[in-house]
Amino acid sequence: MKQIKRSFRELLRYPSAIIGMVMILMAVLLSLYTMITIPYNEAIRLWRGSEDDWYKYPKQAVPAWTNTFSKKKQPISFFLNSAEPKTNSSVMVTKEIETRQDGTRKVTITYTFDYQYDDFPQDIILYTYTNDASKKPLVGVTWLTPDGRKINMASYSVSQRGVYRISQDEKLSRILRTKPIEGLFADPASKDTPIPLKGTYQMIVTTNLYESSAGLDAEFVLHGTLYGLAGTDFKRRDLTIGLMWGMPIALAFGLLAALGTTITTLVIAAIGTWYGGWVDDLIQRITEINSVLPFFPILIMIGTFYSRSIWLILGATILLNIFGLSIKNFRAIFMQIKEAPYIEAARSYGASDLRIIIRYLTPRVIPMLIPQLVTLVPGYVFLEAGLAVLGLGDPFVPTWGKIINDARTSGALFEGLYYWILEPAALLMVTGLAFALLGFALDRVFNPRLREM
């Protein structure tokens, strides 16, 4: 215990160790936050990406904060639902119900939003929901521009769920004599190269309801080219979920693999040296067979032929690394310790084999074990990501490697969608670097010969 305290104090002398530890701490805190706010099953369900979950989000939208750095402001996506009225921000939705004398009701839903961007949005979609089954309510949609023009966009009847994609409205296109979205937003002064008119727009949805139990709500979805903190991918999924959940997955994989391999290796090496004879011979033979087996190719085979489950891959990784090269290093040290007088003493007072192995042999190599354990973590984190980049990532769990693979295979590099690759890559790099920095410092603290270097 004392020794650990002393080593820790010495570790604090290395700035790189402190940086590494702070980074690891932040990673752990982010993981905990993620696991609490987005439960595992929920994350997996969302990441499988059904249209119901993600229809509101634009495809391959760049993170919203990039507007801060660009001259030409791009439209940020947003959505407004009349079921959840909002009146106190730059985007508003109000719903008014007016009951007439004959019992019918007039519903007016008004969306108001401030549009200060230099480019047109991808699309605007209006989703209408009604529980009026017998009579299909007729919905009228009107558009008010900042300069006071009023455009009657469409009127259509809705049964249960109606979808109105403005970009695909050919009638509106004929009225406006251009693409609907451009026609709605363009500044009338800009004829040849249309640019959006900045200011406050309004879209008004009106309908008449004839049944007393009937209701109508409408959801306004503007698909811009930007969205959120991390942007979205080709399946409209919000990348923050994948990026956040990638952290606990990567940490779990890296730490479990590193712990699993080093500790088992240690115990096996101790058992082999202590008992000697055929046990030792067997362990050495297995080590040799294992060294002839190509590790990564076998993982590729397991991932393709059996299962891409991340936990199976973790198990295989540990299994194939237990009898690695470090077993020889541990063995060499144990060979020396085995002859030490205090082991002789323990034996003479009748300590059992197990006691000697666990209490007297293994603790002696802990100084060698700790740096090794920490330096192994990044390798395993990148291993998992590497398998995912080959398309062998877990089919359900969101991981950074899978996001990189999605981006690569859908041409993010060709189309310049760099955020999609850089975000998971940065997180991978930071995680790997954190453990590497700490590991390097630990190596120097626990390895007296390196200390001066």
Binding site: S16, F296, P297, T304, V389, Y418, A425
Partner: protein, 385 residues
Amino acid sequence: MNTDTKNDVRQPEASGQKRTSINSFLHSNSFMRLLKYSVTRLASLLFSVVIAIFLTILIANMGGYVDQIRLGEIREMVVQSVRGNTANRGLPPEKFQTLVDDLVYQEAHAQGLDQPLMVRAARYMKKALALDLGNALRMTSDSGSKQVRIIILERLPPTLLLWGVSGILLFFIEISVALSISRKYGSWLDKFFVSMAPFSTAPGWFYGIFMILIFASYFRILPFGGMVDAPIPKTTLDYSLSLLKHMILPTMALTLTSFFLNVYQWRTFFLIYSTEEYVEIAKAKGLSNRAIERDYVLRPTLPNIITSFALTLIALWLGGPITETIFQWPGLGRAFYQAVQFYDTPVILGQTVIYAYMLAFTVFLLDYIYALVDPRVKIGQGGSS
């Protein structure tokens, strides 16, 4: 049986004993010992290779599943050909079925698919160990051959070109840089390498993506991937230039992932050796830096350098499946990955068996090389009881 392989480090023997003639050496104890050691060592290594290949066969065959797929394919082929044959028109369904079953059985029997799993595995293994690699199931070489040997030989040059050239060059550059900065311990260059070392934790494919992003996608000055330009250049000069252009990014990625860490490790290694007493004495004697480096630092670390070099060479054989996939480089790593995707057991097996042989052979040779470069090492002596 003593199969322990530990090299015993001993004090150099007296010089008089060394001067024995070859003739007496051949009849001496040490020759017999060497022979006995070599035989047992070879046997144990071969045993390891056999077991490893057997395990690979079991994994690559999915416990017989791949053979099931092949049976299914055979049946499909037979049904197609029986249907296509006009002579079989109007055949009653039962007769049609028996005809198909017969033909499937014949074909399966000819390929040995009707034998038990272990027999099949043993047969695959016998062929693999004899390096009779056979034909691929689905893959074909660019020249159109189905022979595994030709497929592998076709993929070998790109791998050797990329990983070999960059790997070997990097290896020697790393060692010489490490030597020179170990002399300037504490200088800014030294500190630079120490602080850059952690960045080498990211693998080659990771930096590869960055390189593609920066130089291919953003600046558009280098190709995204592949080995040569799309219409293959006519003249040898243009071809080589195009090849070089395509090699820049992968080589940069490989450099970033290994260079700093390896320089750091070799430099630390050399530093440890240069604090030995005999180096101090050499310095006190007033020997030149070059002489000290050559005879007192490099010489005792030679076994480590050779081991590392040998392992670098063997790693070539596996290539880098991910890096080669990212750069669309038609090398062995990508070939292996494709073979797995195609469930092409013969190709998987062919590459694995060659790797296993090469590794075992290198491990065997290294013992002798150690003994050659380091007089303190004696082959086949000592070890545990």
